[in-house]
Amino acid sequence: MIDKFVSSVTEAVADVRDGSTVMIGGFGVGQPVHLIDALIEQGATGLTIVANNAGIGRAGLARLLELRRVRKVVCSFPRTADPVVFDELYKKGEIELELVPQGTLAERIRAGGAGVAGFYTATAYGTKLAEGKETCEFEGRHYVFERALHADVALIEAWQGDRWGNLTYKEAGRNFNPVMATAAKLTIAQVQHKVDLGSLEPNAIATPSIFVNRVVHIPYGDPK
């Protein structure tokens, strides 16, 4: 019997290794906050983080940065309301930033999950973010070549999960989570609701179990 539930976030992230690339879902809502806290406790360092932003305030991802556990951030928007930690590290040259347009970021992750090695997109053509990148013209339009993104670990947040790892998301909590779930060797989901196998409508499962390795049930309520 497949049962991907693990009993704690500590157990869920126990084997994350130094130097790993870790994707972290979320966009305003839908951050796997308990998994991030567990990763902070766990101690892995030299990490590359792939996420939409670079942490807010001094908790969660920002705390991971503050502890100097992150070598590089791949994101679209490291400048949020209160991104103090990233700012400080960036200005001191102590963290690497790969800035990626948000759609290109999502598409590169999706490519990683779907076996596409790289693709041509019109986004960023002629801008600083395309400098040094290969370009190509198709039917009179210019495109930039972008490579797929893969991760060792994806930490995601979902609404419901069953023991096989089928997941649903709640409204805007979906965001990057289902895409990142496809692109990592080890995908770990924290879910608000543990549901029986078979209780999710098969046509409405947003992440099929095939993409999920571990599930932790954390009924944490309001995401803010």
Binding site: L99, P101, A106, T123, K128, P223
Partner: protein, 217 residues
């Protein structure tokens, strides 16, 4: 001599943009001033607002006692979902943008050039970490890109220019500019004046603009 004309308020600018959006369009509104546009689309006129984070059919801010904490827009503010709205993931949402399915995007600007180039994501100050979000995707992918911006910066520098000096967000992507004093079409022949606020003549407007304005042909 005092000026004989009055610039539009942000609310008036938003109403002006909203007036030009036909029923049935799928529209992405950038963070900041463009967000106000949705308040001016009349009830019953189906204009469908898209948000980069996967909302197709975004509604206005909820009343404080009716917040769904899982519904935020690209600016991370609480929003609602309209009747008929749908949720998709980030790659599918940007597929809508990049695949040319968004009829219109309205963004703010640092500078718009007469060739339609837009600069709105980075200044020349290298100390700040750069941040781009979805702006470049919207420039490259939306069917039409309209800009809402003041005619000049607070210090009086023109924002409509011959060539952008700030880093570009997209090339030759802007088709219309709504400022606090005028509306311009942007085409291969540059800025063409569509209208100006009452009392503002083209010469005075030209003085506030960093590129040649053509009158309506």
């Amino acid at each position: 001599m005092g000026q004989s004309w009055k610039p539009l308020s942000r609310t008036e600018m938003a109403a002006r943009v909203a007036r030009d959006i036909p029923e049935g369009w799928y529209v992405n509104l950038g963070i900041g001033m463009p967000t106000l546009v949705s308040d001016h689309i009349p009830a019953g006129k189906d204009v469908i607002i898209h948000s980069e984070n996967g909302i197709v059919g975004m509604g206005p801010q909820p009343k404080p006692d009716a917040v769904n904490p899982w519904l935020v827009n690209a600016g991370k503010q609480y929003v609602t979902l309209v009747t008929g709205g749908a949720i998709v993931h980030h790659a599918d949402s940007f597929g809508m943008i990049r695949g040319g399915h968004i009829d219109l995007c309205v963004l703010g600007a640092f500078q718009v050039a007469e060739n339609g180039d837009l600069a709105n994501w980075a200044t020349l100050d290298d100390a700040m970490p750069p941040a781009v979000g979805g702006a470049m995707d919207l420039c490259a992918g939306a069917q039409r890109l309209w800009i809402m911006t003041d005619q000049t910066t607070k210090s009086g520098e023109p924002k409509l220019v011959e060539r952008c000096t700030y880093p570009l967000t997209g090339l030759a992507c802007v088709s219309r500019v709504y400022t606090n004093v005028a509306v311009f079409d942007v085409s291969v022949s540059g800025f063409e004046l569509v209208e100006a606020v009452p009392g503002l003549g083209i010469d005075e407007l030209q003085d506030m603009t960093g590129a040649t304005i053509r009158g309506k042909g």
